[in-house]
Amino acid sequence: MPDLPLTLLDAADALRAGATTSVELTRGFLARIERLNPTLGAFITVTAEQALAAAAQADADFAAGVDRGPLQGIPLGVKDILATQDAPTTANSNVLDRAWGAGWDAPVVARLRAAGGVILGKLVLSEFALGMPDPDTGFPIPRNPWDLERSASGSSSGTGIAVAAGLILGGIGTDTGGSVRGPASFNGHTGLKVTYGRVPKSGCVPLGYTLDSIGPMARSAADCAAILQVIAGHDPSDPTSSRAPVPDYAATLTGSLEGLRIGVPKAYFFDAPELDPQVKDAVLAAVDRMAAAGARVREVELPHAALAKEANTITMVSEALAYHRQDLASKWTTYGKFTRRMLTRGALYTASDYVQAQRFRSFFKAEVARAMADLDVLVTPTGLTAAEKTGEIDPDKRLLWPSFTGIWNLVGLPALALPCGFNDVPLPLSMQIVGKPFAEDVLLRAGDAYQRLTDWHLRVPPIAAEVAA
């Protein structure tokens, strides 16, 4: 994709150097969307007119010497589960009342706009951030740009596709059990699940109230840092949003891995029979690469990780069922078939199961804190495999498989997914770097430093390269 900048920060530099304008960028990305979106199914709504107006404003600001930071004039997208004043919010569902969120921006969206971001539209997701693509619902079917027959993962599938295929320079996803990290993994870019409370989540249709987070998705860790800088911080409309100070993330990107203390939990995360050996080898090779650059690595144990996955599931589907129960009772067939099956799992648990999951949560949080006492980060695979063929996914079978992402939602920790290789198909492979509470700066520094040593995150799917050629 040589005709448009590859990364958000490249575009920011080009805008400031006068090499392009926001209107030119916006027109270029809108043209790509027009060309590729019918195939890839990334956008539900494209707000071209509003985007061009925002781009013109960004250019006028530049001309007037007003610089609101790296997002000014940058084409972005938001998952269609966040309220925006200029377009309906669907949550990819025919169930959600179209009046929900009408006429106002979620704080995250308002912050992007205030920073000069140009929002190109609203992106496909799994229905209510939980289901799977379902042709019966009438919404676009998301397709992996590396192989159209394969899953783009979920639930922030549209954001993942759009970043990977160069339809936007950065976007917003939400993550309750892996919904930022899964699409980042399958589509081959970077995604950050933030600490619970780091980013206000008001104006977002909930899934699991105590697990939900909103985070940046972009090609690189440095691009994610630029977006997080804008969206992080307390908002009075979300009482769970933290008042912890927001660091200067860009200033922490030193490029150094010297002295970073990495823990590698081999049990569960690396010995699962379902783990693809190519994923395992790529992640361990990435750890070796970081060690060669000065990181200190040792093994660590989290004996109750498998149970943490179950506790996260119980928490998520119980909280989700409370939100959806009335609609499930009255609009059962309006939900997609996968969504209603997953939501209804919440009915199979008892109230005491939910409370026990919260008791386990306290216990496991302490276990993780002990394990990380003399570490800065943990490194694991993001998922078991590279992108699967869409027709081969069985959600009931997945119930029994290990999962490496929801565990960190359970304990609220930040986790960065980033590319660390390709398999022999070739499809992107991904590792996950997990940090301590509110240590997004450490994750972004480590991720950025790794990405200065590698170019996995800069590789472009052939379908996108052909459009640019």
Binding site: S202, T344, D353, F360
Partner: protein, 79 residues
């Protein structure tokens, strides 16, 4: 008998769904019945000795919110 060894998963699942007001097709009911032993076992597995005296990670604050959620200010009575 452990809870996960309930003799009739189909009756249990049917009762749980009915209690929530959820009606499903026979095919969907079969799916829920098939996964129910796994679901039940996963929940039962959390009752480990280490958690016996743990406090739940539930926080309630009696503080009033600083501001209503955006879009919901209407209808809030202020003296």
């Amino acid at each position: 008998m452990q809870p996960s060894q309930a003799p009739d998963s189909a009756a249990t699942v049917r009762a749980l769904l009915t209690a929530q007001g959820i009606s499903v097709s026979d095919e969907e009911l079969d799916r829920f019945v098939a996964i129910y032993p796994h679901v039940r076992a996963a929940a039962d597995a959390l009752y480990i000795p280490e958690v016996r005296y743990a406090e739940p990670a539930l926080i309630f604050s009696a503080d009033w919110p600083d501001a209503p959620p955006p879009g919901s200010a209407e209808g809030v009575y202020r003296a």
